[in-house]
């Protein structure tokens, strides 16, 4: 094990090469020379970058090799009954939706009809047929030096191509639902999404990752965002991987002048859930608001990495992430704000609040500010605490049992972020799952009250 610690990179398990050789001829767009080449390049890049170890600063708190550097198999077609998936169909009756099970589109549950002219919502597999060159170009233009991004480029199977032309506002939300079933040998899937909003276009995107079944799975997702000036994106993410499963998600985005990007992420479950963001603010008047809450327990780790580049003056970014760490859970946050030269009048804030409920849990938090302009307002802060004894006593003195009192207070801590989810059905799902997880005999009344007041 010492050898592992000394090096920043490990050679990928040979099973990756075998899988790539076997799978490449069958991956979406394999008939396109341009796409095939991009995939080959991606795979070569992955081999060259290797698997990061904890000597790599970005992975300091996370042993990813344990989870990702082992033989995995690509998913085969999985049949699921509708009732397993139904609770996760969000956005109401008018929502458009693409549903993937183990990386494969499920047309029977997907619905993209009746969209305004010029709007494109199609699966990655479809995009590989209809626009192979554009897709190859999009895949090729993201090289962030991150091995899992390169791995995704090589294997990209599920995912979507989404484009809204200038001035189009979709009223009904669009859901991307990724379900993994897992297996004894971990099943891997590599969804890749490209989302482009034209000038002034607006969209509510519900991105949902759900693990069903006891098996292990690794979802290695990459989303490329581009918001043109004045575009608006509400991005609700609910991540519910199964206990043995992991999710690595990278978002790379550029935000044009006057655009607004609001993202709220709720993480419940998963051996490792890692959310990485690299966002570039390229114009004035941008609003970029990122919030998240994760509740890792024993055997679970939640990582959040944020890098926001203010490359233009007069924009606003805000990061607000909360963790509740139970038992032997582990949460890590690393947030970086870079204010580039000339980005005057920048407002950039970052906050990470942690509730540590046990002596065995671990919280790592690493805020970073790099400021190369002199007329800016930037701040960061992190807190770590336990439940307040006086508050617990107050609730118990009113007849509420200790377990329920704890659950109510943890819920209160987390609910602030859940309340930021843009879509009511997303809020309801997150609430229901959080309350179920907290136990303490809390029933639907809590969900009902919270949602009733929200409505």
């Amino acid at each position: 094990m010492l050898a592992v610690k000394r090096t920043r990179r490990l050679d990928p398990d040979p099973a990756f090469t075998a899988a790539f050789r076997e799978l490449a001829p069958r991956l979406p767009g394999s008939a396109s020379e341009a796409l095939a080449r991009i995939r080959e390049e991606g795979f070569a890049r992955f081999l060259a970058l290797g698997i990061p170890t904890q000597r790599d600063e970005a992975w300091k708190f996370t042993n990813v090799a344990r989870i990702a550097n082992r033989p995995m198999r690509p998913a085969t077609a999985t049949e699921l009954p509708l009732d397993r998936v139904l609770p996760y169909l969000l956005g109401g009756p008018r929502a458009r939706r693409l549903v993937f099970v183990d990386g494969r589109l499920q047309p029977q549950w997907s619905h993209t009809g009746g969209l305004p002219d010029g709007v494109i919502v199609e699966s990655l597999a479809r995009a590989a047929e209809t626009r192979p060159l554009a897709l190859a170009e999009a895949l090729g233009e993201l090289d962030d030096g991150r091995s899992f991004t390169a791995l995704n480029t090589a294997f990209a199977d599920g995912g979507a191509w989404i484009e809204l032309p200038a001035g189009v506002a979709l009223e009904a939300p669009l859901q991307l639902l990724f379900v993994t079933t897992g297996g004894e040998v971990p099943v891997m899937s590599h969804p890749r999404c490209v989302l482009r909003l034209g000038d002034g276009a607006s969209l509510t995107l519900l991105e949902t990752h759900v693990g069903l079944g006891e098996g292990a799975a690794l979802t290695n997702a990459v989303l490329q965002l581009a918001l043109r000036p004045g575009a608006r994106l509400e991005h609700d993410r609910i991540q519910l991987p199964a206990a043995q499963s992991s999710l690595l998600a990278k978002i790379d985005g550029s935000l044009g002048a006057g655009s607004r990007y609001r993202q709220t992420t709720v993480v419940l479950g998963g051996a490792l859930v890692r959310n990485e963001h690299e966002l570039r603010i390229d114009g004035a008047g941008v609003e970029c608001l990122l919030s998240g809450v994760a509740v890792p327990g024993t055997g679970e780790q939640s990582d959040t990495l944020v890098r926001i580049h203010h490359r233009a003056s007069g924009s606003h970014s805000d990061q607000y992430f909360k963790h509740v760490v139970e038992d032997r859970g582990h949460a890590a946050f690393a947030g970086k704000i870079v204010v580039h030269p000339g980005a005057q009048k920048t407002n950039a804030y970052q906050k990470n609040d942690n509730l540590l409920l046990s002596d065995d849990g671990e919280v790592d938090t690493k805020p970073e500010l790099q400021i190369y302009a002199d007329d800016v307002k930037c701040s960061h802060g992190a807190t770590c605490g336990e439940l307040d004894a006086g508050v617990l006593f107050y609730l118990r003195s009113r007849g509420i049992a200790a377990e329920a009192a704890r659950a109510i207070l943890v819920h209160a801590f987390a609910a602030e972020v859940i309340g930021r989810l843009a879509d009511p059905t997303a809020r309801a799902l997150a609430e229901t799952r959080l309350v179920a997880r907290l136990g303490g005999g809390l029933d639907g009344a809590l969900v009902e009250t919270v949602l009733g007041e929200a409505a």
Partner: protein, 251 residues
């Protein structure tokens, strides 16, 4: 209803209650008055089951039960209520949700059905109206950003809804202006009944002009020093703790 015998309590090794005895009967209002540091609030907290107090001797019976053996929530289920001097603020927990959760926890412990939503709403609105608590305050998070007076009214609202047998009021008058004091006192007086007892802890006689006690106890140095009728409170008002108890005990 409540029998305290020779109760001795320490905080961080320092004796605070030094052999306190007191009997409270159903239907009566007992006032406990005493100078700062006499142990009044310690008594209230120990009775409600707050952590951080070490009982080194004596016992407390509440009805048929050994009160000190019960968890704080079990004391509430048994019918004890403490209106706190400093009600805590709990952001993220809606006042209404909390009230319903508390009522149902107590009903459940007593083997009753959960309160129907309509009945709950009716009761809360009625009591809130009597206490001058606006709809907006009910919708807010529990005590979050409430003024001192609003917090105390909210305590009395909880007391009215939870229907306890024994109500302990810990310095409920502190921080109240005269109008709020009257509203709070009216709230308490409405709850007076032959089955219910009150233990009103206060530093000043002022509250007792509005909540007229049956029995007045003067507490100092961790013990009840004198017991009498309402006239004892008035005597105290005239002579002060020092005049009544002497310099040593009043310090």
């Amino acid at each position: 209803m409540l029998t305290i015998e020779n109760l001795q309590v320490s905080v961080e090794g320092k004796p605070i209650l030094k052999g306190l005895s007191l009997t409270v009967e159903a239907g009566r209002v007992h006032a406990i008055m005493g100078p700062n540091g006499s142990g009044k609030s310690t008594l209230a907290h120990v009775l409600a089951g707050r952590e951080g107090y070490e009982v080194t001797g004596g016992n407390v019976r509440f009805g048929d039960e050994d009160l000190l053996a019960l968890e704080p929530e079990e004391r509430a289920h048994a019918g004890l209520f403490l209106a706190m001097q400093y009600p805590v603020e709990i952001p993220g927990v809606a006042n209404m949700y909390f009230l319903r959760q508390a009522i149902n926890a107590i009903r459940k412990a007593r083997g009753q059905e959960e309160i129907p939503a309509a009945e709950f709403m009716r009761k809360v609105r009625e009591q809130a109206r009597l206490l001058g608590i606006g709809e907006e305050l009910l919708k807010r998070d529990l005590n979050a950003g409430f003024s001192g007076g609003e917090k105390k009214r909210n305590e009395i609202l909880q007391m009215a809804l939870l229907e306890p047998r024994l109500c302990i009021l810990d310095e409920t008058d502190s921080g109240l202006d005269i109008d709020a004091l009257r509203t709070v006192a009216d709230g308490v007086n409405r709850l007076r009944s032959p089955e219910r007892a009150f233990l009103v802890i206060t530093h000043y006689q002022r509250l007792l002009d509005y909540i007229v006690p049956d029995v007045v106890h003067i507490m100092a140095d961790g013990r009840i020093q004198r017991t009498g009728g309402p006239e004892l409170a008035r005597e105290l008002e005239e002579r002060g703790y020092e005049g009544l108890l002497g310099t040593k005990l009043a310090a």
